[in-house]
């Protein structure tokens, strides 16, 4: 017996929401309560869509925090791991999501506050080296610019993935999906055990990310020339 208003998979995928929701999920988007009718549709069609996506080698995950996402477990559907920048920014935003100070503004935070928080948590040097591991020498001005660029890029991708909403140039709205970043520390068990469990379920990978060159990614994603200020500096410096 199912609570779904859809009697069959055919009915579920005939719904007007299906194409949009399907494309969003396949592109890695987390569909949450803030997405309104798209979320309601997923709640309603879950019983039919779970086996449907399983045939593609994916799990349609529903979290108690109020969001859905697609987790590929095989090779049938493409998947990618988040970059170091996305991970650091995502975890820091998750921390801000838990902060009662964010509550006062209904889950809105300023980009500037995020940068301050990141820098405070990691220290500027660690932050710069983590976001740009291949560079050995850093000029302070260039390093700051690089961090800002990487964070802005990470925010853009996290927005596409439905972890946050970009309100304007200065403000971000945090979404419950950010709690995915807190999964390894969500329960009181040993952190290592929690990580292993998440690796087994296909939620995370351990170790350094196999990151493509940024310029390559930019070429792929938006066709821009991927030429950064940092590259200019490197070229100028020989």
């Amino acid at each position: 017996m199912t609570n779904s208003s859809f009697q069959s998979l055919e009915e579920a995928i005939s719904d007007e929401h299906f194409p949009e929701v399907d494309l969003a999920l396949r592109r890695g988007r987390h569909v949450g309560r803030d997405d309104g009718t798209a979320y309601d549709y997923l709640v309603d069609a879950l019983d039919h869509l779970e086996p449907f996506y399983r045939r593609f080698g994916c799990e349609l995950m529903q979290r108690a925090d109020g969001y859905f996402y697609l987790l590929p477990s095989g090779d049938r559907l493409g998947r990618r791991q988040l970059t170091a920048g996305e991970m650091l920014v995502g975890q820091t935003l998750a921390l801000m999501y838990l902060d009662p100070a964010t509550l006062q503004h209904g889950g809105m935070v300023q980009r500037e506050t995020l940068l301050q928080r990141l820098s405070g948590l990691l220290g500027t040097e660690t932050l710069v080296r983590t976001l740009n591991p291949r560079r050995r020498k850093f000029d302070e001005r260039i390093a700051a610019e690089t961090v800002r660029t990487k964070v802005a890029e990470a925010l853009r991708r996290l927005t596409d993935l439905g972890f946050i909403d970009s309100v304007d140039d200065a403000m971000l709205r945090l979404r419950p999906a950010l709690m995915r970043f807190a999964e390894p520390v969500r329960d009181l068990s040993d952190r290592q055990a929690a990580l292993e469990r998440l690796v087994r379920s296909g939620e995370i990978t351990l170790g350094e990310a196999v990151e493509k060159d940024d310029s390559d990614e930019e070429d792929e994603n938006d066709g821009s020339d991927g030429h950064s200020a940092e590259d200019d500096e490197e070229e100028a410096g020989g």
Partner: protein, 434 residues
């Protein structure tokens, strides 16, 4: 006062309007306001002002020296800023009597008066407003002259109704700031007491939600009546062809619409905030009563560079849409048509009209011409009109070559043909020529 906002702002900028109130000044004003309120004073004698300043000084700045002198400066400063006004008009004859200005009262009221909108105050205000509008409608039905419209409709609309509507709006702003305080208080309560603050936060949320819902209900119900009454007055004014009352009613309708829109907008905004906080209390606070998650996550972020892990997300590429197949098109080379650029020259008649000019000049001289003008006049009629200008130059050239010419410093201009003049030369007599 100019009605155009740009002109009004320009006038304020030109007059360099500014306010500079220190905490002591504000406390002094507040002390005076409260004293006037309790003792029903309309004005203050100078000694009372100084006495009040000293009392305020004892609280705000206990160690201050020479408080009387400071009081004198403070009074002058407040007079300069139009916070205090001298009302006795006695000049230097005796010590002055002062009153708080409307500006000072407004500033103090903002800080002291608790003027947030409540169900009671709103019901009272809307009830009075409704009665007032009903009276104005009755007056509008009776009004026959322009004076009657002005006295019984326009004036009450602008003053009584305007004040009542303004009063509701002012209290709405009060409630806005109260809501901000509630939001800050919820954040502070959780910051301090985390799990222990859940019930208190819930209660604050519910209280504000109920207040807003009640106010919105009253506003929705009553503004509908206001607008109906106002439209009736406007129709009567329109029938009587009274432009001024019509315009006054329109302004009040716009004001009332604004008040009604406030209710809806605030309820929507609060509803979003309510849901967000509710979810937070349920998903974050209740599930983590010891607030350990934040600390663990903080440690996790700090240690991430040394033991990194990466979330996995689906990343199906976009469907590739291939372009329709097109057969290869041979593009012709860019070229231009060949033409024979070596054309045959045109045949024209030889120009020999000037060949005999020298002969003609000599003939003229032989005939007794004694100046360039005379020679030219003699030669020109031999040529067609379109050649005469050119021939004139050649005549001068020939003459200069075959004779010795003389000329005055100021050579006179002589007409030699219609629309043709030359600067004349004199010629030597026959025996003097070359």
């Amino acid at each position: 006062m100019p009605s155009d906002p740009s002109r009004l702002i320009a006038a304020l900028a030109r007059d360099q309007i500014n306010l500079d109130l220190k905490t002591l000044d504000l406390c002094f004003l507040a002390g005076l306001y409260l004293r006037a309120d309790r003792a029903s004073l309309a004005s203050f004698e100078e000694d009372v002002l100084i006495d009040m300043f000293e009392q305020v000084c004892d609280v705000v700045d206990p160690g201050a020296e020479r408080p009387r002198k400071r009081a004198t400066h403070a009074i002058q400063r407040l007079r300069d800023q139009r916070m205090l006004a001298r009302v006795d008009g006695a000049g230097i004859v005796r010590s002055g009597e002062y009153t708080l200005t409307r500006l000072a009262a407004a500033v103090v009221e903002y800080f002291l008066a608790d003027e947030a909108l409540t169900r009671e105050s709103l019901t009272l205000l809307t009830g009075t407003l409704r009665a007032q509008l009903a009276e104005i409608l009755a007056a509008a039905r009776r009004a026959e002259t322009e004076d009657a419209w002005r006295e019984h409709v326009v004036a009450p609309l602008r003053i009584t109704v305007g004040d009542l509507v303004g009063g509701i709006e002012r209290r709405q702003r009060g409630l806005d700031s109260q809501q901000e305080e509630v939001q800050a208080e919820i954040a502070k309560l959780l910051q301090v007491d985390w799990f222990g603050a859940v019930d208190r936060c819930q209660s604050l949320l519910d209280t504000t939600t109920n207040t807003l819902r009640e106010l919105n209900e009253v506003l929705l119900r009553d503004t509908h009546h206001f607008v109906a009454l106002l439209q009736e007055i406007q129709a009567l004014a329109s029938e009587a062809e009274q432009a001024e009352p019509e315009e006054a009613v329109q302004r009040v309708i716009e004001h009332v619409d604004r008040i009604a829109a406030w209710g809806g907008a605030r309820q929507r905004a609060w509803s979003e905030y309510y849901q967000y906080v509710h979810r937070y209390l349920r998903d974050v606070v209740r599930l983590d009563p010891d607030r350990a998650l934040s600390q663990r996550l903080r440690d996790e972020v700090a240690n991430w560079p040394s033991t990194p892990f990466h979330l996995l997300v689906a990343a199906a590429p976009s469907i590739r849409l291939l372009r329709p197949l097109e057969s290869r098109v041979e593009r012709p080379a860019v070229m231009r048509p060949r033409t024979d650029r070596e054309g045959s020259p045109d045949l024209v008649d030889p120009e020999d009209a000037g060949l005999n000019i020298e002969t003609l000049v000599e003939d003229a001289l032989a005939a007794g011409a004694r100046s360039l003008a005379e020679v030219t006049e003699w030669v020109l009629p031999q040529f067609p009109a379109d050649l005469r200008y050119a021939v004139t130059g050649r005549v001068a050239d020939v003459l200069a070559r075959i004779t010795r010419t003389r000329s005055a410093i100021e050579r006179p201009w002589r007409t030699v043909a219609p629309r043709l003049e030359v600067e004349d030369w004199e010629l030597p007599r026959e025996g003097d020529r070359r």
